[in-house]
């Protein structure tokens, strides 16, 4: 009974409801401590995880209200996470637990996920850091995934408070050494458990073969070559071991400036144009000789890539005239405050000014600018037939962002899950985005912490939101991916460069004889059961009809595009059934009618593909002369080009397997509600929202699938094979709009006061007679 006792009037914040009845007095708690501990859930430790400190009789407030309800339990800090152990797991045994993360529980916060820690001293909230003289009575933890935890330490023993608070502060705030990352202890301890998932076909780009495959896939191999000159990171530690450069580039040039000033290939467009990136040469102004050398070197490089067969190169300098990392940092820190809400009152205060607050954070505007830049570059590649060279100081922040956005828009392969993961692997991981610094995993410099990758995910979310059928994955996938940034058992986001990863791995190899087996985040089975993984997959996505052989050829290299046979039948069979209908019924219906009702699969004569592939090709070539002069011309004309391209694309029906452009008008850029609002209880809509549509959709898909099977089975005289598809969403009558996240934080709390009060009120004459007394319904 005390395990989730209810205490009122305590805690640090203002207590606006004086009428609150306290059932349990602190003294009682101490006497009953044994009982409390007995009821507690045991702490699950991952392999290699060590318990550092703990404190019992901590009260975790149910976040939403000011009436100080809470659950008692133990607060624990390990070298992996902060965990609260209450006995509130009882309610979580049905549907919603299917979307449970296997690694991180509902009340777990990985150390890297902690954003800010506040302490409440005498009702005043202060940021906690360093050595404390005085220990707070309440601990507020803001997480990077925007959860907010309130722990009341009032009933905890003093020495335990000291230990846990300083423990948490030390392990989350103090600078850390790379080799102290939990990643390594986990990898060392979990050697045997780690098994590579055979279904995981994400291209990792850590071998020469992978790069060749990508070149082959995009037909870029004619003009570009994969080089292994950096094997063992001999040339440069910033660059991956293998990368792709223009074919005529001499190898000695590569090592000249440690990889600076080298155009690196990102991706080739169907028309042969390529997206390149280059890190700027280091600027040393006082040394004239060196800058002279640099200049002539660059001239040589440009000459090489300007000469046919290469298209004209347009240089896009992302260091100037575009976002600065500082902008992104400021905007996000303002933006996230809108969602890190300590109590309801705060929420309601901000709610009135929601739109203007949102606007003043300018996060959405930054998203718009990124999308716009990507469209501009897409226009150059697609319509103007020029190569685009992205230039940035290290080519590892905005370069990654812009080039991967361009690829998501232009390359339908990048909109499949495998393709998207390969893209992140290619542009971000191998592209040397310094995740360690940008996420501030080691707590070494707050200045370096810039959510560039999150910005990218948010941009992709805008695309997913605007064109759902074009993507193989759902917004839930993106949300879960963004959460995975802070889980230090995956190596993917915990290094600054591939060199760092390999190097650290080698170091520990000396001591341990066996190579470390670091997990990759793409192995989703580590985090989610197959059933839960269904929610990461967009049921409406339809694979491209197999007309285009060239596209397929590449696939075969890595095996068929993994549809993951373990998923339930409706799910894996649906796309097949789709094409089957189109083929089997053979009448006018499938091609024609579907186009009317559901523009998912465009027939081959689709105007858009014609527009971009063949018809305009010669047109573009005719315009080539004009185009060159345009490049030199003012930005006005560039703007017109952009506008024209943008408008003409949007005025035509969308081919989900072709070029995809986002809308960037004011009303079109939205808040990624699932990620940002999911922990705010006020924001839930029970039985509504997207979840309602999705569940309806799944139901219908299942039905379609079942009928399809019946039809298929009929000619063979077999009985209908009715697959009992386990539906994640079925059965739970009313889902919250924020499903699958919202329900995770459901608490089996009972109303604090007897609710029958109101109904009996009519008979309670004395209450009614107190006419001049204000009666609040909540308290009756």
């Amino acid at each position: 009974m005390l395990g989730k006792g209810v205490v009122g009037g305590g805690g640090g914040t203002k207590a606006p409801k004086p009428s609150f009845v306290s059932y349990v007095r602190p003294e009682e708690i101490h006497t009953n401590e044994k009982e409390v501990t007995e009821k507690e859930v045991t702490l699950h430790l991952l392999p290699g995880e060590q318990l550092l400190c703990e404190a019992s009789t901590v009260l975790k407030y149910v976040q939403e209200d000011s009436c100080q309800r809470g659950i008692y339990g133990k607060l624990v800090c390990t070298d992996f996470k902060i965990a609260f152990l209450g006995d509130d797991d009882s309610a979580l045994d049905n549907d919603e637990t299917q979307f449970k993360n296997k690694v991180i529980g509902e009340n777990d916060i990985t150390l890297h996920c902690v954003d800010q820690i506040y302490g409440v001293f005498d009702e005043k909230k202060k940021t906690l850091f360093g050595q404390l003289k005085k220990y707070p009575e309440k601990l507020i933890i803001h997480c990077k995934d925007l959860r907010v935890f309130h722990f009341c330490l009032r009933y905890t023993k003093e020495e335990e408070v000291k230990r846990i608070v300083s423990g948490i502060i030390h392990h989350t705030q103090a600078p850390k050494l790379l080799k102290r990352l939990f990643l390594f202890s986990y990898a060392a301890a979990a050697q045997n458990h780690a098994a590579t998932d055979p279904r995981n076909h994400t291209v990792m780009f850590d071998t020469l073969k992978d790069w060749c495959w990508e070149l082959e896939r995009t037909k870029g191999s004619v003009k570009y070559k994969a080089v292994s000159v950096n094997e063992g990171y001999k040339v440069c530690e910033r660059l991956p071991a293998y990368f792709v450069v223009p074919t005529p580039l001499p190898e000695e040039d590569l090592s000249r400036f440690q990889g600076h000033g080298i155009p690196l290939w990102c991706w080739s467009c169907h028309n042969g144009c390529a997206l390149l990136k280059m890190s700027a040469l280091p600027k040393k102004e006082q040394d004239d000789g060196l800058s002279q050398m640099q200049k002539s070197f660059l001239d040589g490089i440009y000459k090489t890539i300007h000469r046919p067969p290469y298209e004209i190169v347009k240089t896009e300098d992302l260091s100037s005239n575009f976002l600065s990392l500082q902008d992104i940092q400021t905007a996000y820190s303002k933006f996230k405050q809108l969602f890190l809400i300590d109590n309801s009152t705060e929420f309601w205060d901000t709610d009135i000014k929601w739109f203007s607050l949102l606007e003043s954070s300018s996060w959405l505007d930054i998203i718009r600018r990124c999308l716009k830049k990507a469209i501009e570059i897409t226009e150059c590649l697609e319509a103007q037939n020029v190569n685009v060279l992205l230039l940035e100081e290290n080519a590892s922040d905005l370069c990654c962002l812009v080039s991967s956005l361009v690829q998501v828009m232009m390359d339908p392969h990048c909109r499949t899950r495998i393709g998207f993961q390969s893209l992140v692997q290619k542009e971000w991981i191998m592209g040397g985005h310094s995740f360690l610094d940008r996420c501030n995993h080691l707590r070494q410099s707050d200045k370096e912490e810039v959510p560039v990758f999150l910005l990218f995910l948010d941009c992709v979310w805008q695309l997913v939101h605007q064109h759902p059928p074009a993507f193989d994955f759902t917004e839930t996938y993106l949300t879960v991916l963004s959460d995975s940034l802070y889980i230090p058992i995956f190596s993917t986001f915990f290094f600054n460069s591939p060199h760092q990863k390999d190097n650290v791995g080698r170091e520990s190899q000396d001591t341990q004889s066996k190579p470390l087996n670091l997990l990759t985040v793409w192995d989703w089975s580590v985090q989610f059961e197959p059933k839960a993984q269904m929610l990461l997959k967009n049921p409406l996505y339809v694979e491209k009809p197999k007309l285009d052989k060239g596209q397929r050829k590449g696939m075969r290299f890595k095996g068929p595009q993994g549809r993951g046979g373990c998923f339930s039948s409706w799910f894996s069979l649906f796309p097949a059934s789709w094409t089957r209908t189109a083929l089997s019924s053979g009448t006018a219906w499938p091609e024609h009618q579907r186009q009317l009702s559901l523009p998912l699969t465009q027939s081959k004569s689709s105007p858009k593909r014609g527009f971009f592939r063949e018809e305009t090709d010669h047109l573009i070539k005719n315009l080539l002369g004009k185009r060159i002069s345009k490049l030199i011309n003012s930005s006005d004309e560039l703007h017109d080009n952009f506008r024209e391209f943008y408008d003409s694309w949007h005025s035509k029906p969308t081919d989900y397997h072709g070029l995809l452009l986002p809308h960037i008008e004011g009303p079109e850029i939205k808040v990624w509600a699932q990620r940002y609002l999911r922990w705010i209880p006020e924001a839930q809509i029970l039985g509504g929202g997207r979840a309602a549509t999705v569940s309806k959709l799944l139901e219908m898909m299942e039905e379609v699938e079942r009928l399809q099977e019946k039809i298929d089975a009929r000619p063979h005289g077999q009985g209908a094979l009715l697959a009992e598809a386990p539906l994640l969403l079925r059965g739970s009558a009313r889902l919250s709009a924020l499903f699958p996240f919202a329900l995770l934080q459901r608490h089996p709390s009972k109303p604090v006061l007897p609710t029958s009060g109101w109904k009996a009120l009519g008979d309670e004459e004395d209450l009614a007679k107190r006419e001049d007394e204000f009666v609040d319904l909540g308290d009756v």
Binding site: L540, G666, P681, K696, I711, A737, V775
Partner: protein, 694 residues
């Protein structure tokens, strides 16, 4: 293909118009099939599309712009509307009133003429047009935009004429109420015993049937009509004399009447403000009290306008919204959000939703009887009471249920549509009904599986508010509507002498209502009224009403409460007169208001949404979200003038799947006739969708 609503409502693909006409089957043989090269004369068939009493004032050939592809045709100005008729297009016989290319004159919000770089706004007939317009832009009050470029080459005078004619006609139109609706027979339907698609509540039988449907056993239909609908519901025990006695003490005689009876036993009533200048005697007060109380021991009074915007606020917000949504709106992209906030429209939407949500919790979960009181009882009372019903009654969320809800709470209850929608040009313009539609749209957004009707239906309703062919929304009171219906025949005779009058006495039924969708939309469009995501699990059958508690003997109310800002305050008495007859100011009898409670009633009742899983809500009750991030802009309606925003709004994937489903079912049925047809997908026949299930 998206179906085209009216004009640029949706992503209409105008080149489809040709094949679409084939839909009318053999009838299209009748039309003058030849597509003559732009005749210099007005085609005969163009004139044939006119309504009775409609006169063509001017016309000019032109090209519709702004939407891809450009569409050549003719711009016609009549005394009722401005029509753009594409070449070769003709009103289909089956949908004689379709108005895809129409702009009713009252709908014209702004008119601009463009020549070269100069651009002039035309407002008054006197305002001079100093150049021959090359292009004309008509901004609709319903957020549509018509952009027509005139042809050069000798036809400039016509362009000038038609422009001036529009200006003139619009000015005259705002002075005269000349819309009279058209009789059914003219619309190509037999005027005999045709049942209206939705009970129009113009007979006592309609009211009786509706009462039975609600299970309001303690109520009866009263025929004591004053300024109210001809019929309404009063408590069974109340005599007509008492009703008359009581109603006299309400503003404009709009005494308390039943809006909706909750099967749990509580009632939702609406009434006008107390007529405080009157001096009621004891009997009168008793009658008033017994009617307000309606047999319940305690009653909650809700001051409707409290926390809601004033009429002027609504009008201002709507004007601002319209300005913001213009295609050439000056709001920069990055300032869009604050500009949107600045209109305050969404703020008003959310305050309506919030109040409705609170009241529905009171009525359903707490089983309180609620009396909505608004001085005029014509605007926000209707809005709130319909919203409450939408939230609490699954049946009101069906197509038929929603239409009869609007008919009952708005049309029959005398919402002054004509004034509020600005047709008369009076100063009391305030699009309360459009605010209501926006609220409904928000609900539709939030609960996509709970409503049988779709966004397109709402849009059609939105656009119907100003069409000249039905009287539903073109009169201020049911009385005027009836009167006009009777006078109507003589009116048409002036223009159409040869036209046969329908037999007298049938005039009520022969009048077209807005609910006769099939006359204005083709079957394909009507199919779209149906929400493919509607979950039949939520249909009325699964909704089991609780038992009715026995009625209490009327006596002095044991508790009277005032509900305001999320809290109940006890009141001394129901009426302002009893102890102190000189107390005139109605609000002064109320106690000082409590501070705003941030918690809504739903929160107080069940805690925050995260708890609701543990304590289930009453079945059928929807609790809407009304937070900043949850209230959205109805883009498909308000941003219609900006085609670039409309393109590619999320594809109708559910309906696509539904098509696939029905196709598969059909295949199955064809191949194996013995397999009983699966009834998982609703039959999507427009007739069954809109038909009346009485």
């Amino acid at each position: 293909m998206w179906w085209g609503g009216r004009g640029q409502s949706f992503n209409i693909a105008p080149q489809k118009e040709e094949p679409e006409m084939g839909h009318s089957g053999p009838k299209c043989v009748q039309r003058t099939g030849m597509l003559e090269p732009r005749s210099r004369q007005l085609d005969g068939h163009v004139a044939s599309g006119c309504l009775p009493g409609e006169q063509i004032l001017a016309w000019a050939p032109g090209v519709r712009k702004g939407l891809e592809p450009e569409l050549p045709g003719t711009l016609i100005c009549t005394n009722l509307r401005v029509t753009f008729q594409p070449c070769g297009w003709q009103r289909s016989q089956e949908t004689p009133l379709s108005s895809e290319y129409d702009f009713a004159l009252v709908n014209i919000g702004r008119l601009e003429a463009v020549s070269g770089l100069s651009r002039v706004q035309l407002l008054h007939p006197g305002s001079p047009l100093k150049f021959i317009p090359e292009e004309i832009l008509i901004h609709g009050r319903d957020f549509r935009l018509l952009r027509v470029a005139f042809e050069a080459g000798g036809l400039e005078p016509q362009a000038f004429q038609v422009t001036m004619a529009i200006v003139q006609a619009r000015a005259q139109n705002s002075q005269v109420q000349q819309y009279a609706g058209i009789p059914l027979s003219k619309a190509g339907q037999s005027s005999g015993s045709r049942k209206p698609p939705v009970p129009l509540l113009e007979t006592s039988e309609d009211w009786e049937a509706e009462r039975k449907k609600q299970g309001a056993r303690g109520w009866r239909v009263s025929t004591v009509n004053e300024s109210l609908p001809r019929y309404f519901w009063v408590p069974k025990r109340t005599l007509d004399s008492e009703v008359r006695r009581a109603f006299g003490h309400f503003h404009q005689g709009r005494g308390p009447r039943l809006s909706w009876h909750h099967p749990g036993g509580s009632d939702l009533l609406r009434c006008g403000g107390f007529y405080t200048a009157s001096d009621p005697n004891k009997e009168d007060i008793r009658a008033v009290e017994s009617m307000l109380q309606a047999g319940h021991s305690d009653v909650v009074l809700v001051d409707t306008v409290d926390e809601l915007p004033s009429l002027a606020d609504v009008q201002l917000a709507h004007l601002r919204l319209r300005a913001l949504c213009l295609p050439d709106s000056s709001a920069a992209e990055e300032k869009w959000l604050s500009a949107l906030e600045g209109t305050r429209w969404l703020d008003y939407v959310r305050s309506c939703l919030r109040k409705a949500s609170d009241i529905s919790v009171l009525v359903t979960s707490r089983v309180r009887s609620v009396v909505l009181q608004e001085r005029g009882d014509r605007d926000f009372n209707g809005l709130l009471s319909s919203l409450v019903q939408l939230l609490s009654v699954p049946e009101a969320r069906t197509l038929l249920g929603f239409q009869s809800l609007v008919q009952r709470e708005w049309v029959a209850a005398g919402h002054p549509f004509l004034t509020r929608l600005g047709v008369t040009g009076a100063s009391e313009e305030a699009p309360v009904f459009l605010l209501f539609l926006d609220c409904v749209w928000q609900l539709l957004q939030q609960f996509p599986a709970e409503f049988e009707f779709s966004e397109f239906f709402l849009l059609a309703l939105h656009d119907s508010a100003r069409v000249p062919d039905t009287l539903t929304f073109l009169r201020d009171t049911p009385w005027e509507r009836g009167k006009q219906g009777g006078q109507f025949n003589s009116y048409t005779q002036i223009y159409n002498p040869g036209y046969c009058q329908p037999p007298a006495g049938n005039s009520v039924n022969s009048q077209l209502s807005v609910w006769d969708w099939d006359l204005r939309y083709n079957s394909e469009q009507i199919l779209q009224f149906h929400n493919p995501g509607y979950d039949p699990e939520h249909c009325p059958d699964s909704w089991l009403p609780r038992q009715q508690p026995s009625f209490m003997v009327p006596g002095p109310p044991s508790s009277v409460w005032l509900f305001s800002r999320g809290a109940l305050t006890p009141l001394n008495q129901l009426c302002p007169w009893r102890d102190n007859p000189s107390l005139l100011a109605v609000s002064s009898r109320w106690l000082p208001r409590a501070a705003i409670s941030s918690e809504s009633l739903a929160d107080q009742e069940w805690g925050l949404p995260s708890h609701w899983g543990a304590c289930p809500l009453p079945p059928g009750l929807l609790l809407p979200g009304y937070l900043g991030p949850q209230i959205r802009l109805w883009r498909r309606c308000y941003l219609r003038g900006r085609p670039e925003v409309q393109k590619g709004l999320s594809a109708p994937t559910i309906s696509g799947l539904q098509d696939e489903l029905s196709h598969l079912q059909e295949l199955l049925r064809k191949w194996t006739p013995r397999i009983s047809p699966e009834d998982h997908s609703k039959k999507r026949d427009p007739n069954t969708i809109l038909s009346q299930s009485r």
